[in-house]
Structures are given as C-alpha cells and as structure tokens.
C-alpha cells in the first residue's frame, strides 16, 4: 500500500476495492472522483503508481507516448498528467526533454525526442523565455526594438514547427503566451504606443495563424487557462526563482486537465452524446409536483440560470453533440412545458431521442445507446440527483456521469470545464450530426415497412461516392480514423499529417466514402486505405460510421478495392481484422465476402485473402456508384 494518509477515505476505499478486483473501468471512475477539485500531489502519485503496477498493457487503456518540451521545470506535472490520463482511459508514457532543451531536441533529428517516437509533443514555453526583452522591466522601448523582437519570435516558432514536421508526423501542441503580470509602464501601458499586452497578443495571433496553416499543430490556449485561474494564483514567484518551476502546485492539476482535453480527442475518446435529466437540470423545480406553470424557467433567478444552461446545451448541439433526455416524468407534462413555456431555449427537435418514463435511468441510457448506435463510453449523463447519478455510475461504469451542484448558476462551469466534447476539428458532418441522425431514424422506419431487405436497400436510393482525400475532406478522414470504433477492421488512428503522407505514396489507395440516400446526404461516412505490394493489394484501413452500418456500403467498398486492384494488375486482395472489444460489427467482414482465412494467425487478429481470378467482388445492384478516384 502506498503511504498517503491525506487521501479522502471513502473515495480511496472505493478506488482500492476496484483496483484489488482488477476492474479497470471502475478504477478509472473512482480515480476520477479522487482527482476532482484540487487533488494533492500525493493523490496523483498514488494513482499513477497503482495504474502502472496493475493495469500496464491493459487493452482498455490506449497507449499514448507524450513528449514534454519546455523552457522551465515542468516535471511537477508528470504524476498529474499520467493520473488524469488514466482516468480517461489513456496509458500515457512520458518523455521529458532536458531543462530548456526544446530547440536542440526539435532541431537535432538524432535527439532523444525523435528516438522516443512520440504520438504527441507538447511545447511549453513561457513568453519571458522566448522574448525576454518583451517582459523585462529595464528594456525601454526605443532602445530595444520590441516590434522586431516579436516578429523574430514568431518566425522562430514557425521555423521550429517546420523542422519538427520534417522529422516527425506526431501531433504538436504549442502553448501560447501570457502577458506580463506587472507592466513596465504600469497604468500607462496601453496609452503610449503598442502596449506589452498588445505585443503579446500579436505574438499569439502569429502562433494561431501558424497552427491554422499547418497540419497536426494545435495551440494550447495557455493564456486563456491562466486567465481563468488568475495570474496571481497561477504563478509561484518563489518557485520560479528558486527552482525554475513557475507554475504553482495548486495550478498544475488544471494544466494537466487542459492537456488531457487534447489527448482525449487524439485518442478518439471525445464524447458524442449528452443525456440530460429534466427536473432541476433543464428547469428549476419538480414538474410532476409543481406543474408546467410552476417550474422555474424564465428571466428571473433561478429560472435565468436554467436558461443560461439551456443555451450552453444548445450550443453543444450546434457543435455536433447529440442530445437526449432521460427523465422520470409524465410525457404529457413534458410536452406541455415545451409547448407553453415562453422562455424555453431548447426545442423538442433538438433532442435526437427522448426517454420520459419511470424506468431506471440506466435502462433509459441503454435504450438511448442502442437507438443511436453509440457506445456507452461516448455518452455523458447529467443529473442533479445524486442517487440517479450513483445508479447510472454503478450500472454503467463506462458512461461519464456529471453530478450537478446544488446551485444552478454553477451548472455551466460544471458541464464545460472538463471539455468532454472538445475535438480537434469541426467538420460539416459534426455540425449536421443531429440532423443526420434524424435522417437515419427515417431510414430505419422505412426498413420496418419494407417487405424484404433488398427492397429496403432499393428504396433507399443510395448513391456512394468514392473520392481521394481532398483539402476539404482531410479533417473528416482523420477524424473518422480517430473516432470510429465499431465498424473498423484495424482501429489504427491517423493524424491529418499521416494521411497526407499516405496519399503521396503512389502505391496507396486512399479513399473517402460519401453516402447519399433519399433522405439526404449523410456526408463522408467511410474511409479506407490499401497498398499495392507486388501482386497483392493489402487493405490496412477500412471503416464505416455506425450511421450507415447494415446497408451493404462495406460490400461496395470491397468491390471498389477489387476493381482498383485488378486495374493495377494485382492477383489477390488481403485484409486483416484486429479484434477489439468494440469492433464486433466488422469482425466477419472478410468472411461474409468469401475471403479465405489464412492459417497461422497473429495473436488478437485474423488474416484473410481473396483470389481475384474468380472475378472479385461486385458492387451491390441497388447502389449508384460514383468514382472520383483517378484511374492510375
């Protein structure tokens, strides 16, 4: 047992119990409780050691190599980062560059950084280390050319980013910069010429521009983070001068959480669906007791706080988060609120599925997950009632449970702070997702009316478009590899930069799949990559969004590979299935399409082969096929 008497007893006992039981999901959940608020350094160390002892190599944890490069001592965040990653299902391995060695590590292609072969590199540089003159009190304007100092700093960042990209396809996260705490001219800072604050803002704008123009380089809004916490609470001047560790111990958990938002997104763990309670969550009061006119939802407190929360929820929907309701109420009362309340922000059509009744909430969540075809670990459940939260947390440990605080004015912060829905790109598909799911519902209804499955396919009037990855579809293609878990034969995640590399390889077929049907355009819902080696075309990536599973789109994809392979003179098509706990829908793909299983399987995977001399695979007759792939 690790010694740390200060970890709260009850959550610690729960953590220890799930650890002893070897239950990784329950351990992650109880670890989350331990790390809530402002955890002590010892708590993070305790969780890190427990995880490294018990769950290293556990298939539920996604391994992620993260390199930290910084201009200051950032080592004190290690335990927190690894612990916060673990409770999100990440097994983080760290590389720490030597103190202030970020330039050397990036520029030297034989450095420890590249030998570590990181997935993600975090570049944490304080403004005063990059542009000392801009932060120095004795660097008077006029004698020191601050404008060119800032321009040069921006150019140096661009050069470092370029050098990095030439040596690695890893994702690069770059801190932006905080303005000086104390301004050289005090209250005159903004009055005489460009202020120090404006110059820092210009540097941040240059960095933002650099990130927008690059692939796989993202800005960590460090300035925004420090601002949320407050500069005087964030920095510890004593440790800055004594140990070159400027960030206060009490602020480090927030830095770790900010990093984890990026890592979660990169690992394909961004949450997709928000399930909401109604009473005392979307409005104040209990509808069944106080009636549709008795609840609080309007311009005056506390109704104003619930309105504010509804606006935030609506904003999430506009970002592509699927909304659902799980409430214990009479459906007619709920309908009446939506129909008669003058102030309500959310509309019934904002919700892709509504479960109002008297079942256990966990049961409603299961139904919602099944209906939407979404995995439980992509769902967030929000409720004010601790008993309901507890019921869901125990019955469905994979669901992320957000217990709302007592006062509704804190709901917004509680929901947004963890960044569960934050992704690294927003695609058109995201923005239309809720609508797309409604189209899918209509398609399912059609299926229920149809006499045979083939009739159903015909009446869908599907059009399937195969196209190379383009500027406009690159973000979506990378996102599909990062997010798709069910119909995914190998579940390899790719960044945009890696896809561009593959696209440039003449032996590779890199194709997006777009599906339209009579209900509308589903957008890009599939992606595959194959590579010609000798007389064999090997499929290494083939995935399909769950929105279009069960419509023979996968058959069309295999037909497309066969067509392409035959055109390039291949004799066989090969494919591998890497078995995961989630990709059951994809596991019989090759078997269903007459591939022969090859003997001598590698562990956890099966290998398949199709001889093209028998004619390959034909496109389903009920689809219109559009191929925009160049005939090379």
């Amino acid at each position: 047992m690790v010694a740390d008497g200060r970890i709260p007893d009850e959550p610690r006992r729960a953590f220890q119990a799930s650890l002893d039981a070897g239950d990784v999901t329950a351990t992650m959940r109880s670890g989350q409780n331990l790390l809530g608020g402002n955890p002590q350094a010892g708590t993070a160390r305790f969780i890190r050691r427990a995880m490294e002892k018990t769950f290293v190599g556990h298939p539920a944890l996604a391994p992620l190599r993260v390199a930290l490069l910084s201009s200051f001592s950032i080592e004190f965040v290690h335990d927190l980062l690894i612990a916060h990653g673990f409770v999100e299902g990440l097994r983080i391995e760290l590389y720490q560059a030597g103190f202030g060695q970020f330039r050397q590590d990036i520029l030297n292609s034989a450095s420890g950084l590249y030998a570590f072969d990181p997935h993600v590199v975090i570049l944490a540089v304080e403004g005063k280390d990059l542009v000392p003159d801009l932060y120095r009190h004795d660097a008077a304007e006029g004698r020191v050319d601050l404008e060119s100092a800032v321009t040069e700093a921006g150019q140096e960042l661009a050069a470092l980013a370029k050098a990095f990209r030439e040596r690695s396809a890893a994702t690069l996260l770059v801190h932006n910069f905080t303005p000086p705490t104390w301004r050289r001219l005090g209250i005159l800072d903004g009055q005489l010429g460009p202020s120090q604050a404006e110059r820092v803002a210009a540097l941040n704008a240059a960095l933002a521009q650099l990130c927008r123009e690059s692939r796989g380089i993202h800005m960590v809004d460090y300035a925004g983070l420090v601002q949320r916490v407050g500069t005087s609470a964030w920095y510890d001047d004593r440790m800055a001068l004594y140990a070159r560790a400027p960030i206060a111990q009490s602020a480090l958990p927030q830095l770790a959480r900010e990093y984890v938002k990026f890592l979660r997104a990169l690992a394909g763990k961004t949450k997709k669906c928000l399930v909401l309670d109604l009473d005392n969550t979307l409005w104040g009061g209990v509808l069944g007791e106080e009636g549709p006119r008795g609840i609080r939802l309007g311009p005056d407190y506390p109704g104003s706080a619930y309105l504010e929360f509804q606006r935030v929820v609506r904003g999430l929907r506009q970002r592509g988060v699927i909304l659902a309701i799980a409430s214990k109420n009479n459906p007619a009362d709920v309908d009446e609120v939506f129909a008669t309340n003058d102030h309500i922000v959310l509309r019934p059509e904002d919700f892709s599925i509504v479960r109002v009744g008297w079942n256990a909430k966990s049961q409603s969540l299961r139904e919602i997950a099944a209906h939407l075809n979404i995995a439980l670990d992509h769902m967030v459940f929000v409720d004010d009632n601790p008993a309901e939260c507890d019921e869901v947390a125990h019955a469905l440990p994979a669901v992320t449970v957000v217990a709302l605080p007592t006062q509704p004015e804190h709901f917004v912060q509680t929901l947004l702070e963890p960044g569960y829905f934050d992704g690294l790109s927003v695609s058109t598909e995201d923005l239309r997702r809720a609508e797309l799911y409604q189209q899918r519902d209509q398609a399912e209804e059609l299926r229920a009316q149809s006499e045979s499955i083939e009739d159903f396919y015909r009446r869908l009037e599907m059009e399937v478009v195969f196209a190379p990855v383009r500027e406009t579809s690159l973000a979506r293609a990378a996102q599909l590899t990062q997010k798709t878990n069910q119909f995914n034969v190998t579940t390899v995640r790719y960044t945009e930069a890696e896809l561009l590399e593959r696209q440039a390889d003449p032996a590779s077929l890199v194709t997006t799949i777009q599906v339209r049907d009579r209900f509308g355009d589903n957008g890009i819902v599939g992606f595959m990559m194959a590579r010609l080696a000798g007389s064999e075309m090997e499929i290494d990536t083939l995935l399909l969004s769950c929105r279009v599973i069960g419509r023979t789109v996968e058959t069309a994809m295999l037909a497309h590979v066969c067509e392409h392979a035959a055109r390039r003179g291949a004799q066989r098509v090969r494919g591998r299935i890497v078995l995961t706990s989630k990709n059951a829908p994809a596991q019989d793909l090759y078997d269903r399409h007459s591939f022969q299983r090859k003997p001598g399987d590698p562990g956890g995977a099966t290998d398949w082969e199709l001889d093209l001399s028998a004619g390959g695979i034909q496109y389903p007759e009920w689809m219109k096929i559009v191929s925009e792939v160049s005939a090379s």
Binding site: V2, D4, G5, A41, G42, L241, Y242, A243, Q249
Partner: protein
C-alpha cells in the same frame, strides 16, 4: 506530526516509512535529489497548510531538519 512527515517522505522519496529515522538525509538517500526535494517541500506545504520561504526549504535537508523547521511554523 512526525508520523505524517514520515508518510510524505516515504511517498515522495519512495521509501519504507519505517526506515526513516534521524539518519535520513538528502546526502544519504539516493532518491532525494533536487527535483524530489521540491516535490517534498510542496507535499509538506499542501499537507500541513503552510508556506515555506526559500531559506527554510534550503534548510530542510534531513528528516530532523524538516521536523525542526515545521515545528517552528506550526
């Protein structure tokens, strides 16, 4: 207080709490380097809800020094 100090030292320095005694010092413990020293100071600060000055941190180079510095502050 001494029990809590031993626990924090054991945790940060990865030692058996029972092995910590008057002879436990930065010079004699391999895992007690400048980095873990900062971790130790910060861990003690969080646990005892105190704030050390730099001279105090520089003086806390052994188990007995830590007891002495903390006793003065509490």
């Amino acid at each position: 207080m001494e029990e809590r100090i031993r626990q924090i030292m054991a945790d940060v320095l990865d030692l058996d709490p029972r092995s910590i005694d008057g002879g436990t010092a930065m010079d004699s413990v391999e895992s007690w380097d400048s980095l873990t020293h900062i971790n130790l100071c910060l861990g003690l600060e969080q646990d005892f809800q105190v704030s050390f000055t730099v001279p105090e941190m520089e003086a806390m180079l052994s188990y007995e020094d830590i007891i002495r510095v903390l006793a003065e502050k509490l």
